[in-house]
């Protein structure tokens, strides 16, 4: 008695176009599915100062450990990569998608589509992706924006780092202790020092 493949269970109901429209907020890289709306960097700046700067800083530099939103060019191959929309993100669509769905943090999905395009335009502007503060970013134009790190990604090519043989005895491996978490000393309950974070 296996599961019947393709069996209709007569459960659930049709989603109306209105219902889908309320929740279908995602944007594809080429702009497919983008919410109808538009905005300019200049419009975005004002909204950013009012609704975003408290966490991300007036210049997108990030307050405390909140994310940095600008800069980081030419850092990806360095010891201290700074990953921002300008330095890292391959598609502009991701910005408007994310800002609309998740920001401002704690008041998600309260922006209008126009505000989301304006904020996206502003962030692209401060990251030198757009150079005209009156550029109209919209559902029509978002798919055409070219991001600096568009070609910075490769498809997963794991598994990697595999040994040639599985050595079981007298393996030639270094066994000198070269680092100790105790000395780094950032484990909670130990003291208040902060370590290298994930963000």
């Amino acid at each position: 008695a296996d599961l019947d493949p393709g069996k209709p269970y007569d459960l659930g109901r049709d989603a109306t176009p209105e219902e889908v429209a309320g929740w279908d907020i995602d944007v594809l890289p080429d702009g497919t599915g983008a919410l109808v709306g538009q905005g300019t960097p200049a419009e975005g700046e004002a909204i950013f100062m009012a609704q975003c700067a408290v966490c991300h800083g007036e210049f997108g530099e990030g307050v405390d450990r909140y994310p940095v939103l600008f800069g980081g060019e030419d850092t990806l191959a360095s010891r201290d990569p700074v990953k921002t929309p300008g330095s890292y993100w391959p598609y502009a669509s991701t910005l408007v998608d994310y800002i609309y769905r998740a920001m401002p943090f704690g008041q998600a999905q309260t922006l209008t589509p126009d505000q989301a395009y304006a904020l996206t335009a502003y962030l692209l502007y401060i990251n030198f992706v757009l150079d005209d503060e009156d550029f109209v970013l919209s559902n029509e134009t978002i798919g055409a924006v070219e991001m600096p790190n568009r070609d910075g990604f490769i498809r997963d090519d794991r598994p990697d780092a595999q040994p040639e043989t599985v050595c079981m005895t007298a393996c030639d491996v270094p066994t000198q202790v070269v680092g100790r978490a105790r000395i780094v000393d950032v484990t909670p309950d130990d003291d208040e020092t902060a370590g290298l974070s994930l963000e």
């Binding site: 459960l11 991701t94 599985v166 066994t175 974070s197």
Partner: protein
Amino acid sequence: SGGRAGAAMAAEADPTALPPNVPWWGHYLGDGVEAHPYGKPSEYEAHVVRRNVPWLTATTESSVNFTPIHELHGFVTPNGLCFERHHGGAPSLNPADYRLMINGLVDRPMIFSMEDILRFPPVSRFHFLECAANSGMEWRGAQLNGVQYTHGMIHCVQYTGVPLKVILDQVGVKPNGTWLMAEGGDASGMNRSFPLEKALDDAILAYAMNGEMLRPENGYPLRLVLPGWEGNMWVKWIRRIEVGDQPWFAREETSKYTDLLDNGKARYFTWEMDAKSVITGPCPEKPVLRKGINQIKGLAWSGRGRVKEVHVSTDGGRNWMQARLPDPVLPKCLTCFNAEFEWHGEEVLLQSRVVDDTGYVQPTMAALQKVRGVNSIYHNNAIQTWLVNQTGEVENVRLG
């Protein structure tokens, strides 16, 4: 954190409770059956809790805490101890208000209530869920001195739910539908792309873990389960699945969860969790307390299948022995291992190494860094080294 080790055990025994005496609990009645309609752990296990690292994130609502894997026995994680990772906090929502929408390249866009979902034929499977960032703070060196922090972004429960395939059969995926996007209903609206093949293979829309409904922090009332794949994709409080013909490149699969290599290029769509193992005792929280025979206990897993072998070394990887793997060993599920070692007060370098049934071998950190550098954040599955010093204390160290 080593100081918390075995808190319950450390207390002096009460001589009046020891033989030949009959302890108080041998004379007087304990709690009746009406006392705890929903039970809880012993007061002597109060130290067994999830912990977070305050400096790690700007806010606890977009943060993580860690499973106390050094206090676990067996491969099931009790629900109360499953690590949490949220991007907009954990909402507690009324399942009567919950809806799942399926739209996009489907014959019939549909909406399901929890009553509907619970009426489909259920499947139940044990799977580990590991955050791709587990051990992410250890790329550059030994940083956190406790296995709860180095390896605790993992848990393993029995999920019960509906195969995603069954739901897709209801809506009818159009011939050009090849990709899916899962979207959370929480305040982060987390969205991730995954290929249709995974949905048809072993993906589950799960409503229960370890027999009971999901906990709020684990996505109550419904979450996506993608066995063997990185935890970020297992969208919680899932509200919508869209079928498309291309991936979305959402923020969580571009800005985050891409793995930056030394040359500045980043891998994307790194879904599978490579095979990994760690010794959970001894470990910084569980020092070696006696000379003579001690047990090495640990956990191993693979996102690609079943654990085949686990090897343990007491000399930093020069010599290895086979560990025992008590059955059952299930695919894409945590697997316990154990082995004995004798200790006579010398310094010891403990390591474990897993081999899975695809032949994949857990690499050393040196081998991993050679391919990936130190900026990947995600997918650190390197062999972990614990140094046992002459007093039996255990430290997280890096060898080189």
